[in-house]
């Protein structure tokens, strides 16, 4: 029974005769027969979703609890009162607005610089077909896979030498290059298929390479660039290792580093920990909700390329 299917994996759509009406019938039959089974499947899928979401739910529940309430009634009770002291104490202790500004500033700058750098390099590799481009692209791709540990100590030293230690610019420069290595890889394959007719038309109109880039190529690939922009922003926002090493004082740290370095602080009772985690994830969640579509498109675009 499986034999005929084994030969099917390649799309055969073109040559297939029109589907016989019987298919519809079996489909409805099946739906009737599986009337209860599908509810079990739904229940299982929902159960997995609940397991995934439980940590978030108990975090929110406990972020608004007084420490005494927590130790008395446990993690699953409804807060006895709407307690915001934990939230407030986390907010002031880590100077959250400052960390938020740091994170936005670093991630935003990296995203813009990274996309610009990717576009320039990918223009040369994809449109310009620079010789040896395969090597360059492979090199960039491998660089993106390097563990950051292999770069961190020399970069740490270099930052100190040029006066950028504990300076956000060190982190910005490093991530601009790391993200652009991936961006170049992705964009150059997109630009490799850029319609030649458009380029030739531009050159007949007397546009040089610079004007062609900004007047013809840029507008066409703008959707891809905005996906990259969002990705670079989020990746940089979530980065932990290099910011941890490079940003040594409170005033320069990003949200994840500030949150992690508060850990082990004995003043952090359970509700404050939860308030901290809650406040720290809010920007990520908001960003996710705004850009959910772009994100899903981006993840999958990255996968197929």
């Amino acid at each position: 029974m499986a034999a005929p299917i084994e030969t099917l994996p390649t799309p055969v759509a073109a040559g297939r005769p029109p589907r016989p009406p019987r298919a519809r019938a079996t489909d409805t039959d099946r739906r009737h027969r599986r009337g209860t089974a599908r509810w079990f499947v739904l229940a299982a899928a929902v159960l997995v979703a609940v397991l995934m979401l439980v940590p978030f739910v108990i975090m929110v529940l406990n972020a608004f609890k007084a420490p005494a309430d927590y130790s008395q009634n446990g993690p699953l009770s409804w807060p006895a009162e709407f307690y915001t002291e934990g939230l407030r104490s986390f907010w002031t202790r880590v100077n959250f607005p400052e960390k938020l500004v740091n994170s936005v500033w670093i991630s935003g700058t990296v995203a813009v610089f990274g996309v610009t750098l990717s576009l320039l390099s990918a223009y040369a590799l994809g449109v310009g077909r620079v010789k040896g481009r395969m090597w360059v692209v492979t090199l960039f791709l491998l660089a993106n896979m390097l563990p950051q540990e292999v770069l961190v100590y020399p970069l740490f030293q270099m930052a100190q030498e040029v006066g950028l230690s504990n300076n956000q610019w060190s982190v910005i420069i490093i991530f601009t290059v790391i993200q652009a290595a991936f961006g170049t890889y992705l964009l150059s394959s997109v630009l490799g298929t850029f319609p030649r007719a458009l380029l030739e038309a531009a050159s007949l109109d007397g546009a040089g390479r610079w004007r062609t880039l900004w007047g013809v190529v840029f507008p066409v690939v703008r959707p891809t660039l905005s996906v990259l922009l969002i990705f670079f922003f989020i990746w940089t926002w979530n980065e932990f290792f290099i910011p941890l090493v490079m940003l040594t004082t409170n005033a320069t740290q990003t949200i994840p580093v500030a949150l992690a370095s508060l850990q082990g602080d004995r003043m952090m009772d359970a509700p404050t920990t939860n308030a901290g985690a809650l406040v720290s994830m809010v920007p990520a969640i908001i960003f996710f909700l705004i850009f959910q579509r772009t994100l899903t498109r981006g993840i999958t675009a990255g996968a197929v390329k």
């Binding site: 055969v12 390097l146 563990p147 950051q148 540990e149 926002w237 979530n238 949150l259 985690a277 996968a303």
Partner: protein
């Protein structure tokens, strides 16, 4: 106009690329300064004994590397990398594939796309959190005294609940569970979009031939989504070998290096033990391993793609 332009256009064809070189310069310069030179320096450091900073560099040749061979912790860290691959590649990919096909085949079709996309979003949620935030959250949940899990266990009558992250026997499996929780959403999202790409006529034809769900899954789904499976395997394996954040936040490699991983071990040597050369050597070994694994996966991928094309 056009007659004047034509020879120039033709001439451009051959050595046209030279004119594009300036656009590659910023990228290459930045790449050299931030990646190539530091990488070279790291190799140089790994050949020395060095406490870092202004301390003198002492030539040690391959000594750091041979020391690694006799270092029990080093081997432990790489053994734990295997556990990380299980937790970040193997289990999430299998579960992710099951969830994605369930969402796509059953729930999306019988309960509507909205149900499927809400479920998908809840699987994906942990992926968008900064890993440090996820780590802090789990660190509290799993705390032996004040953590939600053990408080709950005590309430239901378990008198002596395990010290999840604090005992050598449970720490590694517990970290693995947290990593699975973080990772699952990624394959789900990618596999779901892969399934959308598959021609539904294939399934219909198979169904007409009387193939059951399992047959269709094996003979159509798995081969059709092979490209995405390779991408997931590649990116997640590299991520698993590099994993640092969750370990730093959850256990710092402990207790007694039961959750030590190479990247954390190298960090420890750099910034804690002041053994910069040794840390550099660990990072270099890790790099070689990652590149070998990545190249092997890429070769397998292109070979499988080629075979598919020839089969056609």
């Amino acid at each position: 106009m056009t007659t004047v332009d034509r020879p120039r256009v033709r001439n451009r064809r051959s050595r046209d690329w030279l004119g594009y070189l300036p656009y590659l310069v910023p990228g290459l310069v930045a790449f050299t300064v931030v990646i190539l030179i530091p990488f070279g320096m790291n190799i140089y450091y790994s050949l020395h004994k060095w406490k870092g900073g202004n301390a003198p560099l002492r030539w040690y040749g391959l000594g750091n590397y041979t020391d690694l061979l006799a270092d029990e912790q080093f081997w432990t860290s790489f053994r734990n990398s295997v556990a990380m691959i299980v937790a970040m590649v193997l289990v999430p990919t299998v579960i992710g594939l099951l969830l994605a096909t369930t969402l796509f085949d059953v729930l999306g079709k019988r309960f509507g796309p909205r149900v499927a996309s809400v479920l998908r979003a809840s699987y994906y949620l942990p992926q968008i959190l900064p890993v440090a935030v996820a780590g802090v959250l789990w660190n509290w949940i799993l705390n032996s005294q004040t953590g939600a899990l053990n408080v709950l266990l005590r309430e239901v009558g378990v008198t002596d609940p395990p010290n999840w992250l604090g005992s050598t026997s449970t720490a590694l499996p517990t970290v693995m569970l947290v990593l699975i929780w973080i990772q699952i959403g990624y394959p789900v999202v990618i596999f779901m979009s892969a399934l959308q790409r598959v021609d539904p006529e294939l399934y219909e034809a198979a169904e007409l031939d009387g193939a059951g769900w399992w047959h269709r899954f094996r003979a159509i789904t798995i081969p059709q989504i092979k490209p995405e499976t390779f991408v997931i395997t590649l990116t997640c394996t590299v991520a698993a070998l590099k994993v640092f954040g969750p370990i730093y936040v959850l256990t710092r490699g402990g207790p007694e290096s039961s959750t030590l991983v190479p990247s954390y071990y190298s960090y420890l040597n750099f910034f804690d033990k002041s053994k910069v050369g040794y840390g550099a050597a660990i990072a270099n070994v890790l790099t070689v391993l990652i590149i070998v694994v990545a190249v092997v996966i890429m070769v397998l991928q292109s070979r499988s793609a080629r075979r598919e094309e020839e089969g056609r």
